[in-house]
Assembly symmetry: C2
Amino acid sequence: MKKENHNYAVILAGGMGSRFWPLSRSLEPKQFLSIFGPNSLFHETISRIKTTIRPENIFIITNQLYFPEIFNYTSIFKIPRSNIIFEPEGKNTAASIAVANRLINLIDSEAKVLVLPSDHLIKNNKGFRSLLRYVFSEAPVKNNLVVFGIAPNYAAQGYGYIKIQNAKFTLKGTGKMQNYNIYRVEKFVEKPDVGRANRFFKDKRYFWNSGMFFGSVRVFLDKIKENLPATYRLISQVYESGDIKAIWKDIKSISFDYGVLEKTKDILMIPVLNLGWSDLGTWSSLDKVLPKDKSANTIKADAIVSESKNITVLGKDRLIACLGLENLIIVDTPDALLIARKDRSEEVKKVVERLKKDNRQEVQTHRTVKRPWGSFTVLDKGLGFKIKVVEVLPKKALSLQKHSRRSEHWVVVEGKAKITKGRKVFYINVNESTFIPQNSTHRLENPTDCLLRIVEVQSGHYLEEDDITRIKDDFERNRQGDIGKLAK
Amino acid sequence: MKKENHNYAVILAGGMGSRFWPLSRSLEPKQFLSIFGPNSLFHETISRIKTTIRPENIFIITNQLYFPEIFNYTSIFKIPRSNIIFEPEGKNTAASIAVANRLINLIDSEAKVLVLPSDHLIKNNKGFRSLLRYVFSEAPVKNNLVVFGIAPNYAAQGYGYIKIQNAKFTLKGTGKMQNYNIYRVEKFVEKPDVGRANRFFKDKRYFWNSGMFFGSVRVFLDKIKENLPATYRLISQVYESGDIKAIWKDIKSISFDYGVLEKTKDILMIPVLNLGWSDLGTWSSLDKVLPKDKSANTIKADAIVSESKNITVLGKDRLIACLGLENLIIVDTPDALLIARKDRSEEVKKVVERLKKDNRQEVQTHRTVKRPWGSFTVLDKGLGFKIKVVEVLPKKALSLQKHSRRSEHWVVVEGKAKITKGRKVFYINVNESTFIPQNSTHRLENPTDCLLRIVEVQSGHYLEEDDITRIKDDFERNRQGDIGKLAK
């Protein structure tokens, strides 16, 4: 029992996964998508480790933009909020892993740390849990960093590779779990071209680099100090000053692989078989993990597909008719549509860059915007008006707020609303409405155990989300600026 | 002036143009679409002839489903409503041409009649008007039917062809307009395969069949009587009984080309050059008439197009990202999306057939449904509620009506509304609202010269359009069943 308390995890959850646009948006990144079942990739990541690692020992490093989602998950999994590290901006994995290990070291200098991406797919949860037990309990790790190599099942070009040294350097598993091997790494190899990918696939010494890392907190910090001394020094200052914002901007943006692993000797690799793993790096990666029909099509949409093969269609709200198509990925969302040749799906990233440059809304949020209390969807807008459907989760409340430049009509279409308007508090039911004049202090609450849904018609000459003064907020969004600050 | 009064036109406007789905819908067919400018194809068709043919002499044969659109155009162009013939169902062009000529013959037995489709594109309006002047005033037509042959500018497979007899049979133009020729037709040829299309393109005796016909009303009726005697007899009964519905079901569904022209000798053809004509038969026909960029793409959408060529993208409301595409047509509408290989665009018809069989809404109406008083758009619906934006044109009114199974909240977001609710009549302005209880008699009117826009939130367990009792209606929709009846 004592021993188990040294098991820690660091979940990397700061990325956007822009190659999954238009399903992923900068404010609703890939790790929070539920493409493969009812739960998001992030949810599944935590689920997989929670039998081996206690919630208090799970640390999450993410972007402060994602606090509503993250707070939601930490309350589901009972992870302390103080275990969340909000980065002021993305600085790639070396910085994230450094800052998280530095914090864990303050708590437990004997910690064994597993670093995990939060946006990968692992279908074989049982196999993964068995691997975790081995790693934390029996693997002859000592003072080494450990990586996990996926045995390739095709000649992938989309992954980096790990080459192991000859098998004579194999360290045999000890204890009960003799079925795991552990090898010394010879080198890391960048994403290969077709020819090399084919060669790697035939050569049993090559494995896919899964992006998961394991080691003692001491080893993580030593290797960072050795290879990225400036990063190590700055990270230490974060904990001395308690002000992550002032320091973070000077930290080098570099991956842990490139900045630390590739410069480190004596790295070990545990090969893992049949995990059903994918990094979901591009839309075409879905081809390896989603089921296909007899024309090699994957259709998760209201679609009519005729004379088409090897197409993937993801949609929900609209009818999609496909006629004579081949090798395409089609992703339909209420405000943006992607149609791309599968072998170019890597380039979605470029499209996203361009949208960002153009400051397009479609790269930031979906038409339905999630909030800690529920969500809203802009149905229509025009000169002087905006129509929203607002959904409030059971027992949740929006902030007590006012708008200086707009008034609002609310009509309840589902559930029952508790309304605060100035000094009055009252309830309205389905088919009843109320009017919130400009500058009137108001609050919308769902006092019931069922969903509350209202239609909001806004009127005014300025109808943006920033016309809001929050007087009280259950989600402390008035203090959003503080969230990046680490508890000392 | 006297002579001009014998100039008549019959506009064929009963088809749906299903190969233009999802832009065309059965309740909003191709002829009412505005793809090539601010006006619909139907509007342009009337515009082109109105300098030569008086509004009283323009007859329209259409489906009674289209009465709101048609009434709108007849009031724009001052065409008498009694000139509209509503077919109970589509029976192809022979029946339409027969019934229209029978009606014209009752009015003017010396009529010269031009029969025109309403869903074709003609870019060169000046050239077409000059042609009309020639046809109605100088062409040596006598007792012949005349067709119009388009000089091919590529080896089209999508058109039927007309082959003329040797040039020695040319009848020279008379009068001032010597630049027109008129030939005797040798035969009509069905849509050819590639090889024949190439041959026809090189052979100067082949022309595209434009689907426009000219002749005296007497010749039209004689030829129909001769070749389709049963149709002729039934059409005559329509005018004797005045009840088109009872008779129409027995009329043979056949095209005028197949049923009459191909069996008739001594047909003349006037060749027309540089009309910029297209029958807009399929989506791929747009390639010949819409401008292309340097990658041969036609983009009329909010689109990001990368590494793509020869694609056509039509959209409006959503961002469309295209990556590495070739030879595709992409048509995006709020409720339905089509992605088709261009050379298969003929098969859109099959998709539409399947949607009809499945009784899909997306084949009948757009999300925005036009009404004689304006339009409505369903923004969202769920269990027990429906949210609409209703637009009422200046000075127009909805019917005085009531709903037995729903109540409605109205919020004005643009303009000013006159409301009748029970015995009360009052006005509401932007940012004001009213509630229409179930079973309450009510009417929404726009008393102003500007657009009125309201948000309507419906509540109830049954929210379909057929829950309506019309007490008074400016558009006589209570008597919709009578519209198919011809004035005797």
